[in-house]
């Protein structure tokens, strides 16, 4: 059975593309057949994050316009043979594709893949409508910041209106040191405000920057973020994985400083 999942957020810069690359790679590591579609037409990014930018010949718009076959546009990952990328077009604008065309394209991929991940562009315009058109499940990425949460709430409303009822939240860039000091909303706070089921929490980790620099997703390695992403992948596959303890430093100094900040 194939599942189509859109990864969306409303706000830009919260980690949609990084999350798409890591979840796609992680699912492939777990033996699933995965395709990640970059639906951000005009601002292609997923290819560089995955380190596949030199292999692109055809793109999403080429398939829709009938310039190539699906097989010609799909790029196989460097490491995992079950992982494919369908890159977006860089020199076109988002109006060159309609939601109906996207839906049809996604349908044709369902026979061959276990998971079809759609990396959604920021915003709520045509690009968003295209990305969610074929999806039957949504992951909403947000960070513990007022702007990101406000946009996420708007996205939840729009997903409701489009009858995408399977929605789950990924809280990204969490800094436990700041949460402990009371200077960052906790995951519980975010969940209370948005009232969406939690899929996972990803800590703010400088290894993300390093892995993006190298074009190699860090999912599955020993870093905090790598472990967090792998946990999410296992949850997607139906496993019950407890939330990891994000280095809850409970030493005397932290306790004393929390007392004063209360």
């Amino acid at each position: 059975m194939s599942e189509v999942i859109v990864i969306t957020s409303g706000k830009g810069g919260v980690g949609k593309t990084t999350t798409s690359a890591n979840l796609g790679t992680g699912l492939a590591m777990l033996g699933k057949k995965v395709v990640i579609i970059d639906t951000d037409i005009g601002l292609r990014n997923l290819d560089v994050v995955m380190g596949l930018e030199n292999r692109i010949v055809y793109n999403l718009v080429d398939i829709i316009e009938g310039k190539c076959r699906m097989k010609q546009a799909l790029i196989r990952d460097k490491k995992y043979s079950g992982l494919f990328l369908l890159p977006s077009a860089q020199t076109r604008d988002k109006n060159s594709v309609t939601p109906e065309q996207m839906k049809k394209l996604v349908e044709t991929l369902k026979d061959e893949f276990d998971y079809i991940l759609l990396d959604c562009p920021a915003g709520i315009e045509q690009g968003f409508q295209n990305a969610i058109a074929g999806a039957d499940r949504a992951f909403i990425v947000t960070t513990p910041e007022v702007s990101a949460i406000r946009d996420a709430d708007r996205i939840v409303g729009l997903l409701d209106a489009n009858e995408i009822n399977k929605k789950q939240l990924i809280v990204n860039k969490v800094r436990m040191d700041m949460v402990h000091k009371g200077d960052m909303m906790s995951v519980e706070d975010v969940m209370e405000i948005l009232a969406v089921d939690l899929l996972g929490v990803v800590p703010d980790d400088e290894n993300i920057v390093i892995s993006t620099n190298q074009g190699e997703p860090l999912v599955g390695n020993k870093t905090l973020a790598g472990t967090a992403y792998m946990n999410i992948c296992r949850r997607i596959c139906g496993e019950e994985v407890p939330l990891m303890d994000l280095a809850a430093k409970n030493n005397i100094w932290n306790k004393v400083s929390r007392m004063f900040h209360r």
Binding site: V146, D153, G182, D183, M184, M185, I193, A195, F260, H261
Partner: protein, 89 residues
């Protein structure tokens, strides 16, 4: 910042949470002040048939309450001071 301010400072995390909660109520309701005014006038019109109410003291707003399943749901909250209940119906 003097010492007193340092100890009294409210955590910015809870400031953010409180601000967001308020903001999202109006975002979700998507109700313009004009529509709220229309609702208010209609309510005055209907209730005035049965009660003498204080029109200036009337206050309506959209806020949130916990539903039975624990989820927050928007509610229309109206505070209408009654001057006198008309007994003749």
């Amino acid at each position: 910042m003097n010492i007193l301010e340092f100890f009294k400072r409210k955590n910015s995390g809870s400031v953010a949470k409180d601000r967001l909660k308020l903001l999202l109520v109006s975002d979700r309701a998507n109700c313009s002040p004009e529509i709220m005014d229309m609702i208010k006038n209609d309510m005055i019109h209907v209730i005035s048939k049965y009660m003498d109410i204080d029109r200036d003291g009337l206050d309506i707003q959209i806020s949130q309450t916990k539903a039975e399943d624990g989820h927050l749901v928007p509610v229309l909250f109206a505070n209408i001071p009654i001057r006198e209940i008309k007994n003749k119906i």
